[in-house]
Structure formats: C-alpha cells, structure tokens
C-alpha cells in the first residue's frame, strides 16, 4: 500500500448503555441504545437523568458512524479527531468530552440531586435475585448516577490504537497496490 497519503487511524466499537433498570427487568446489564433499554420507574421520576443520557448518546452517535454489517460503529482515532475538532470548533474539544459524564451533569452527582422522591418510587423489595446467582440492588437516592446509568464507547477491535483504515478498505483503498508476483 502507499500513494503518499497516510492512512487514518480509526476506532471500531459500539455504544453501550448500562442501566440498573434494564438489568432489573431483563437480567442483562447492558443494551445498545437508550431506546432499546427497558425501564422500571415512571418517566416523571427519571426524566432528568434520561434527558442528560439522551444528550450524551446523541453526541456519541454524532461523532461516530455506522459500520455495517457488523452492528458496529467507527470513528477517527482520538488523536486525529482532536486535531480536526479543535480546528473546526474554535478550540472546544467536543469529541474528548463525549466520553466524559461530567459534560452532561452526571459525574459526581447523586441520583437524589437530580430526581426528587426517588426512594419512594423504588420497587419493594429493593433487591432481588439476578441472573447467575447475583443479587440486584435498586440504587438509593444517595447513589452516584453513574453507578446506576452509564453510556460508554466500547472498542471491539484490540489493540484499538492499531486499527488502520486500510485494514477496513482492503483492495478498495486508494493506497492499495497489487502484491508483486515475483518477490
């Protein structure tokens, strides 16, 4: 390969949503989107958290693109995106922040700070047997939000730093050269 232009580094991964409500309802800790997550509590109780999560998810989607048919997404490797975004968005490092719950007002906050009357809305009893013999506990108002709900960009190809776009494009890459028949 090689046409003089460097091949961009990429990350291949998926967006993962971890929710205690989804685990309580289905036994699965994670799902692939907010829309696919099962809910337990009334939306009027959880709305402040979900509104922040929706902004977070929107940004994760905004800065990655679908990569069919594998059910995955791809994005530029972080270092390259930072260069692009710093130049395009007047210095605001948007991309870096999409992976940080702080931006959405969730990191370091207790659930009760965002959702009044939380404890009264919890199911009784507040714990139950989960899959694989574990005990699930409903989070109390004093729990950290990110203990109960979290979005994550999760790389699926390791080591993630070494994925080159030419690995994905193969012979369609503009840098592709047919292997020499003789040595």
């Amino acid at each position: 390969m090689g046409n003089g232009f460097p091949a961009p580094e990429v990350e291949v991964g998926r967006i993962v949503f971890r929710s205690w409500e989804h685990e309580w309802q289905t036994g699965d800790k994670e799902t692939f989107s907010l829309a696919s997550a099962k809910k337990l509590l009334p939306s009027e109780i959880t709305r402040p958290i979900y509104e922040a999560l929706e902004r977070w998810e929107r940004d994760l989607l905004r800065f990655s693109l679908p990569y069919p048919p594998y059910g995955l997404r791809i994005r530029r490797a972080k270092s390259e995106w930072l260069d692009l975004m710093l130049s395009a968005y007047k210095g605001e490092p948007l991309f870096y922040l999409v992976e940080n719950a702080t931006k959405y007002g969730l990191e370091g906050r207790s659930i009760g700070e965002l959702c009044p009357n939380w404890d009264a809305a919890l199911p009784e009893p507040r714990s139950k047997q989960g899959r694989f013999g574990t005990t699930l506990h409903a989070p109390l108002a004093g729990s950290n939000v990110t203990w109960a709900y979290e979005l994550e960009w999760r790389p699926t190809v390791f080591p993630e730093q070494e994925v080159n776009i030419d690995d994905l494009l193969r012979h369609f890459s503009p840098r592709y050269r047919e292997p020499a028949i003789f040595g």
Binding site: V12, R62, L65, L84, L169, R170
Partner: protein, 396 residues
Amino acid sequence: MIPVDDLISELGLIRNALGEETVDPSRRPRRRGPRESPASERVSGDPIFDSGQWDVTDPDLWEEEKQRARRAVEGDGSAGQSGISRTGIEALAWYVSFHDDQRAWGVYIPLSSLALMDELYLSNLRIGRDRRLNLAWSALLFHEQMHFAVDYACAWFELVLRAPTRREFMARFKGQLPFAGLTPSEAYLEIEEAAANAHMLRQLVRKESRQVMRTIEGFVARQPPGYKEGLRATSDASFAEATAETLRSYFAIWAIEHRLDFGNPKTDWLRLLPLDDESAGSECPVYVINDLDEIGMAAGSLRLIQCISEIVETADFERQFRRQDAEVRSDWGRKKEEIKIRLPSPPRFEKLKDWKPPTWSLRLRAGHRAHLRPPDPGMTAWRAVAIGNHKEMGHG
C-alpha cells in the same frame, strides 16, 4: 438529473467503482432450480393490468409457490433451506445496480410476484383484481425506486470523492471479515430496507384509501427486520433520519478517509436522492418478467398492457364510426396512433366493470368513447367494437 449512462462513463474512470455481475438479472430470488431465464420486457409509464383470463393450470404448484413466496417475503427460517436467496420485498422484486451491471441494470418485477402478492396479501381488499395487481406493481416499484435513488446518491459521492464507495460497501456483505472476531449481524442493510418500505408507504398514501393503506401496512408488518421498521419511518423526520443513516452507512469509512463530517445532524441528506425528481422514474429502467408458467398459471392469465399496436375495426364499429362527426372521427385516428406508443392512465383508458366479454373504454373528445376488446388467445390484434357518446355506449 444527470443520465445514468453519463455517470457510468465517469465511474469507469474510478478504480473498482464498477463491476460485472455474473448472475442473470432476471433470475428470480425464489427460483427453485437451474432453469432457463424467462423473457423480460422493458416497461415505461404506468402499465395497465388485465386478469380477465386468470387461469391456474397447476393448482398443486400454485399452492406450493404461494407457501414458498410467503416464507420468502416474511423471512421464515425454513425459507433459506429451500434455496431462496432474498427475503422481504426483494423476494418479489429487485433492483440491479448500475455499479454491478452496466447493461441490464434496473428494477425487475416478475408477473408471478404480482399474482402471488395479490393472492397472499391483497385479496381481502374490496377492489377488483386488476386494480389490486396495479397496487402490487406500485408497491414493489416504489420500494425498488428507493434502492435506485440510493445507488444514484452513491455514484454522486463516488464522483466527488473518486472512491468506489458502493462496491466496497457491498463487498462487506459477501466478503471476508476485515478482523477476526467480527460477526456480520445483518444480511442486508436493514435501515435501507426500512427507508425503502417507508418511501413506498409515503407514496401510496397520496393516492390510496385508508383501507388499502391498512392492508399494505399489514404486508409490511409481516416482513423481516429492517423491512417492517418502515412502518415507523413514514413521518418526514423519521424518513429523513432513515435516509441519512442509510447514506452514512455507505459512506462512513470514506468520510473518515476524507475527513468529512457526515455525522452532522443538520445535513439534509434527502436532497441527494432523486425521489421527487420526475425524471428519476424514467431514468431507471423497469423490466417485467413473464414467468407465470413457473407458478402454475397459464401464460396469458395476467397481462400487462403498455400499448395497443394493432387494432381491427369490426363491421359494427365501422357503421357507428360513419355516423360520428368529423372531429370525433379525426380524434379516433389520432388516438389510435397515440395508443400504439403509450396508453393513457385510467379513467381515460379503463376496463369496464363486469362487462362480458371483457371490454375497455377509450375516451375520445366531447364525451365520446371507443370500446375495445383484447385479442383472443393466439391473436395479437385488439378489436374496436363500438364508438359513440357516453350515453349511447351505456356509460349512463
């Protein structure tokens, strides 16, 4: 709209942008075994259907084919074992990309699919069979036109980026995995099928009744993942998002390669698709495949009428014709020439309900009509049997 032939010429200058499909484009995805491909014919304009000689000659085969088609359309697990290569609407009609076949690209619709779709999904409608066949035709065509529109948008980007976007994308669905551990999770681009079915629903709702739309929605709801999500993508916003996500899926890698911001939600991707462009309908070739014998029906059971190239005037017609004034006689002469090329849309040319033998009415000037009867089996000429004003012709 830039003609596709011009796009093909330019794409030919981009390495790997064009390929050569080795499969006969008229081969039906649910075909059972290696048989000779049936004849296909190009269709232009809105065809008219005549099922006046509907005849199931092999009831066992007809029943077998109905079940086979149902399994294919609905993505039944056992369908794959019977050699069916596509599911959803693509089991009934399909689009061959100009990226893969520069000579025979276009939309293919078998007559057998119209008969089967009518029988399986439309027969509860309280409208005549010819009208239902026309509905089946429109539904299949609208769905496939979305695939053409996506193909066209791909070509546009390929010319801008000098990149073989579409063929790289399609290769992922049939090629080797770029990394160990990756597993394909979809056999076709589900969001594109949702967008195609949504486009079909959005077009049909403009002219069809609520009862018809409920039936078509039921047809969509029974299709496999992706296809059935078309029901949730019919609003302007959700259709735009389904379209955007379809194009992002095709272009993602190239967006990264060229540092393009394809994730921007304020981009109107629909503008790239020739869906509302009237010339798009004529730019994309549509072929009908005459394969009724393969599902146990007589060859003339379902006729698609595009034009009437040969007319014999009966003695009664000639007698009535002589009584008409000069303008009506002249109009008949003109119409005879016009229908050699293309038939006017209903009601200007329509089948008369419950008339025996089957009779068609062609509107002439000043409320006059000519009545035509289709060729008898084995014959090619239509017969002009009567002419007069609409009262004389029994139109009330």
